[in-house]
Structure formats: structure tokens, C-alpha cells
């Protein structure tokens, strides 16, 4: 019962969200909403506006018009820092980690972000809560063994995991995953899928992904973007059987 009520609450909503780059309309009047605990995927051909949509939500880009509502609060145009502090985290498609820090330090610096910034009188080693939390995150992304390695020396696959680890360590309410399996081998892809499936339902996830198998397996709802607008939205089965989606995106491939 309580779960059902929680599921019903809306965590993120966009109203007529539009972003224009000069003459190009990257996202065109998108009305989108996602409920708490959902596993929502956004698919669409290259240039459909998926990345732009993400960047607007996390505050890297300001929309030309329209609004973004997060937990009943208008966050349109807030700085990226403020949006992150409200509880939206992102794992970028191209891993964006702290190269000269170790894996452990990468996660810890993200973990401490909620509690302290300008604390320069205590030792970071004395903050047990950050350390415990970081070990916990490292465990869940499977990088405990590499904790003392510099992020610069990680393989692409491990860096993708670390990218997700950094996002998780900030303890978000909403997690945006931008192609978490891009450029990974089948084994590594499998690992990432298992990893994100294990993430608790308290965390809402929006996934952008090209691998249809991953999308179909992972999501409860799928939104198809096409030329900046929403082409279709529905459950994996509905999307699979949608004629228009198959024509423009799935290319007639049976999935």
C-alpha cells in the first residue's frame, strides 16, 4: 500500500521543454514525467535530443523555454551545483572522473559532497562516515580491488563503473545514466546491467541507451525521442510493437 502510494508520486516533470541552438531545435516542447522508483528509458536515433534533454535537467544547459519540476519544485535554470544538491546525479556517457585521484578518493570526494566543502581543519581520513560509504559504493560497483589505482590508469570499462560509482556516492534521488554500456564488451555490458538492476527502488533511474536488449530488460517505461519531440511512450511491449517506432528507430529489426 505504502509502496503503491510512493510509486504514484511524481519525481520529475518537464513542461513544454524546448531548447534551440540557433536555428536547430534540439528538444521541442517535451512534456515528460516520471514517477518515483521508476526505471525509465529514453531511446531515439542520434541527434534526437536525448543528451540535450539530460543536460537541461542537470542544469548544464538552460532551456529556451519550458519548465523542469523536481519533487514539486521548479528547478528550471538553477545552477548545476544546486540541482545536484537537490538530489539529481548523472553518469556521463564519456566518463568524467578525477584522473589524478585514486578510485577510492574519487568516490570519497563525491560522498563527502553532501556534508562538507570548506572543512580544512580536520583530516579527511578521520571522517569515518565518508570512508564507510565509499567502501560500500566501491563494493557495489565491484572496484574494491582497484581502490588505490589512479583513475587515469583504469580501463574504459572500469572507468564507466567508477562514473556510476561517483554518481551513486552523492546519494541521489534521481539518477541519470547516459549510455552506461557504450563502448563496452558483452561481458562488461552484462556487468553494468546487473549493477544497475541491483540499485534500490528508492532511487529513480532514467536511462539513455542504444542497446535495445539492455533497454527492454531494464525499463518499465520507454520514451522514444525523434527530432527533439516525443514519438511514443509506453511499456517495453508497447514500444516493441509500435509500427512508427520500428520504422524510424528500430529499423524493422525484431526485438
Amino acid at each position: 500500500m505504502s509502496k503503491a502510494r510512493r510509486m504514484a508520486a511524481e519525481i520529475l516533470k518537464t513542461i513544454k521543454l524546448t531548447k534551440k541552438f540557433g536555428g536547430l531545435t534540439a528538444t521541442n516542447s517535451i512534456d515528460f514525467s516520471i514517477k518515483e522508483g521508476a526505471r525509465h528509458s529514453i531511446i531515439g536515433p542520434n541527434g534526437a535530443g536525448k543528451s540535450t534533454f539530460f543536460k537541461i535537467i542537470i542544469g548544464e544547459l538552460r532551456p529556451s523555454s519550458g519548465r523542469v519540476i523536481f519533487l514539486n519544485q521548479d528547478i528550471t535554470g538553477l545552477p548545476q551545483t544546486a540541482i545536484s544538491r537537490l538530489g539529481i546525479a548523472v553518469a556521463y556517457q564519456i566518463p568524467s572522473v578525477f584522473h589524478q585521484l585514486t578510485v577510492f578518493e574519487n568516490v570519497r570526494v563525491a560522498a563527502q559532497s553532501r556534508k562538507t566543502t570548506f572543512n580544512f581543519w580536520s583530516r579527511v581520513r578521520s571522517h569515518k562516515e565518508f570512508i564507510d560509504q565509499s567502501f560500500h559504493v566501491l563494493e557495489s560497483i565491484g572496484l574494491s580491488d582497484l581502490k588505490d589505482r589512479k583513475a587515469a590508469n583504469l580501463s574504459h570499462g572500469d572507468r564507466k563503473r567508477l562514473e556510476i560509482g561517483i554518481a551513486l556516492a552523492t546519494q541521489p534521488k534521481l539518477l541519470l545514466l547516459d549510455e552506461p554500456t557504450a563502448g563496452l564488451s558483452p561481458t562488461e555490458t552484462r556487468y553494468i546491467i546487473e549493477l544497475i538492476k541491483q540499485i534500490s527502488q528508492d532511487l529513480t533511474i532514467i536511462l539513455v541507451e542504444h542497446k535495445m536488449k539492455v533497454v527492454m530488460e531494464f525499463s518499465d517505461t520507454i520514451t522514444v525521442l525523434y527530432y527533439g519531440g516525443i514519438l511514443a511512450q509506453g511499456t517495453p511491449d508497447e514500444i516493441r510493437n509500435n509500427e512508427e517506432v520500428r520504422r524510424v528507430y528500430l529499423g524493422g529489426v525484431k526485438v
Partner: protein, 348 residues
């Protein structure tokens, strides 16, 4: 967030090994021990070296000069090495620290502690203002802004002859004794003055060591490594950089104040851009972003200057060539290269 079993496992690990990450020395090879030593954070080693340092250089005044410039470079390194901001304007902080200390001693109160503190505080305030004006820009724009503002400060110093002595510099700073709980000690023998400076260098090293190991120190390095990621972790990256700039400016001002006491004189060139250039060179030479590198850079620079300037009046040419070669072949600086080498050995 994740399943409970993994939490428990992680917690177990956290409490056994995580409480103190500087794991005990057992099971470490000789190379690992060396790596810890040369990681430059072994403060005891550094202090011990500084105590014998004046006895191993040709003359004691050179040792004093080296640790004063080393302190300046240490402060500068907070900005360049740890915050990743290439400032060309640190002469302003060094200079204002020197002038404030000197002017207070001449006109206001012959107290060394107070005058040095004023020099430090004036640099903090100036860094607060210049930081606010420059920090929004990154990279080369930041460098140009700091250069422009520092030149502005230079021209004010140059024109305000009544206060600064203008082109002639600030002359005859009195050699007041050091008062200490009612005692007063004359500190102007070369060796005594060295140890007097060493007090401040030691305190700065301690403070900076604490700072770099603090949560803020790690945020600072995260901001340097990846501003975008730091922002999306929720850090106010411009405030972080601003604070680093202020701390960096304050230490530079303290070094300036000590330099004024050392020379009993402040030249107008202390505010000039060449001073900024010199501290950049020292920091790069020693190894930016390493804890002790700036001191090594200052030491090598001033030692070479001392030796070469006795041989030829064109010593700058040779120093320049050495600097270029260092940047080409040892881009991480002298200490950075040693450190990398030790790290590689450690990994085997």
C-alpha cells in the same frame, strides 16, 4: 541503496581497514617505504633537513633566501599545483606583504609579530579582492587578468612615493629585536634570522599539510582535475578556487614580509611581473602539485643564480636554458620526476 549483504561486508571492511587509510608499514618493501618518504609528506624528514640546511649551503644568507622564496613558491603552488590556476600576478601578494610589513615597522609600531601579521593580512585582503575579480575566468584569461591586476598594484606602488618610496624602494626598515613574552632577542645574525624565518616556514608547512589532507584539500584537487564533475557532485567550484587563491595569496604575503625583514629594504621590483615570473619558474622547476617541490625549485634556482652570476653577467641566459631543458625533459619538475620514479619502482 544496494543490497544488505554487500553493505555489511563493506562496513566490515570499512571499520577494519578504512578508519586509518595510511596502512601500517608492515609488509611494505623498501621501495614502498622510500615512496612514502619521498612523497614529501613526511614532515619530520623535511624539518630535520631544514635544520641542517644552513650548514650545507655556501653561506647562511643564501639558505635564508632559499626558504623565503621556497615559502613564496609553496604558497604559489596552492594556486597552480593544487587548484590548477596559472596566476601571473602573485608578485602583487608578495609585494604588498613586503611593503605592509616594512611600512608598519617604519611608521607605526616596531613589533615584528604585528608587522608580519599585517603583511600576511594585507595579502589576504588583496587576494580576496583580486580573486573575486579574476576567478570567474579560466585558463589563459585568468592568467591575463591576474597579470593585469598585479601590474595595476605595481603602478600604484610606483606612483605613491610618499608611502612606498616609489622607484627608490622602501629604505631603512629598522632592525627591531624580536619580543617574546617580555624577552627581546636580536635575530639579525645570519643563523638566527634563518631560524626565525624557519618558524614561519614550519608553521606554513604544517598548516598546508593539514589543509591538503583535509576534506577541503581533496575537493580542491577534485576541482583541479575535473571542474564539470565537481560541479555535478554539488561543489561550488568557483568558491573553492577563490578560497584556494586567498590562502595562496596570504602565504605569498607572509613570504614578502619576511623578505622585507631579510633585506631591510623593499624594492619596487618585488611588485613587478618578473617576480611573478620567477615564482612560476621555481614552482615548475621543483614540481608543481608536489608538497615539497617548490622548495627544491627555489633552492635550485637561487643556487644556480648564485653560482652563475659570479661567473658571468649573462647568467640569465644559462638559467633560461636550464629551465627550458627541465620543462622539456622533466615536465613534472625535479621532485615530480623523483617521485614518479619511486612510484614506478614501488609497483615493480
Amino acid at each position: 541503496m544496494i543490497n544488505k549483504a554487500s553493505i555489511k561486508e563493506a562496513m566490515g571492511k570499512g571499520s577494519s581497514g578504512g578508519g586509518d587509510l595510511q596502512e601500517p608499514m608492515r609488509n611494505q618493501s623498501i621501495w614502498q617505504k622510500l615512496a612514502v618518504l619521498v612523497s614529501g609528506k613526511s614532515l619530520f624528514f623535511i624539518f630535520a633537513f631544514f635544520v641542517i640546511f644552513p650548514f650545507i649551503v655556501p653561506y647562511k644568507a643564501l639558505a635564508t633566501q632559499i626558504i623565503i622564496w621556497g615559502l613564496f613558491a609553496l604558497g604559489y603552488n596552492v594556486c597552480l599545483g593544487y587548484a590548477g590556476m596559472l596566476s601571473f600576478g602573485h608578485a602583487a601578494f608578495f609585494g604588498i606583504g613586503a611593503y605592509t610589513t616594512g611600512i608598519i615597522l617604519i611608521r607605526l609600531w616596531g613589533n615584528l609579530w604585528f608587522s608580519l601579521f599585517s603583511g600576511f593580512a594585507s595579502a589576504l585582503v588583496l587576494a580576496f579582492i583580486l580573486g573575486f575579480l579574476s576567478i570567474k575566468r579560466r585558463g589563459i584569461y585568468f592568467g591575463m587578468l591576474t597579470l593585469a591586476f598585479a601590474q595595476l598594484v605595481y603602478f600604484i606602488g610606483f606612483q605613491w612615493v610618499d608611502l612606498t618610496g616609489g622607484d627608490n624602494g622602501l629604505r631603512s626598515i629598522p632592525a627591531v629585536p624580536l619580543s617574546f613574552f617580555g624577552f627581546s632577542i636580536d635575530i639579525y645574525s645570519p643563523l638566527r634570522f634563518y631560524f626565525f624565518v624557519l618558524i614561519f616556514v614550519g608553521l606554513s608547512l604544517l598548516m598546508l599539510n593539514l589543509l591538503l589532507e583535509s576534506p577541503f584539500g581533496h575537493v580542491l584537487q577534485a576541482v583541479r582535475e575535473n571542474d564539470r564533475r565537481a560541479k555535478s557532485c554539488g561543489y561550488e567550484t568557483s568558491s573553492v578556487r577563490w578560497l584556494a587563491f586567498i590562502i595562496s595569496g596570504g602565504i605569498s604575503g607572509l613570504a614578502g614580509g619576511l623578505y622585507a625583514l631579510y633585506l631591510h629594504f623593499v624594492g619596487i621590483e618585488s611588485l613587478y611581473w618578473t617576480t611573478s615570473g620567477q615564482v612560476v619558474m621555481m614552482t615548475l622547476l621543483g614540481g608543481m602539485g608536489t608538497f615539497i617541490g617548490p622548495f627544491i625549485g627555489a633552492g635550485v634556482f637561487l643556487f644556480l643564480e648564485d653560482v652563475l652570476s659570479r661567473l658571468t653577467t649573462n647568467w640569465m641566459i644559462f638559467l633560461g636554458v636550464i629551465f627550458v631543458l627541465c620543462v622539456l625533459f622533466f615536465p613534472t619538475g625535479i621532485w615530480g620526476t623523483i617521485k614518479d620514479h619511486a612510484m614506478r619502482k614501488e609497483k615493480g
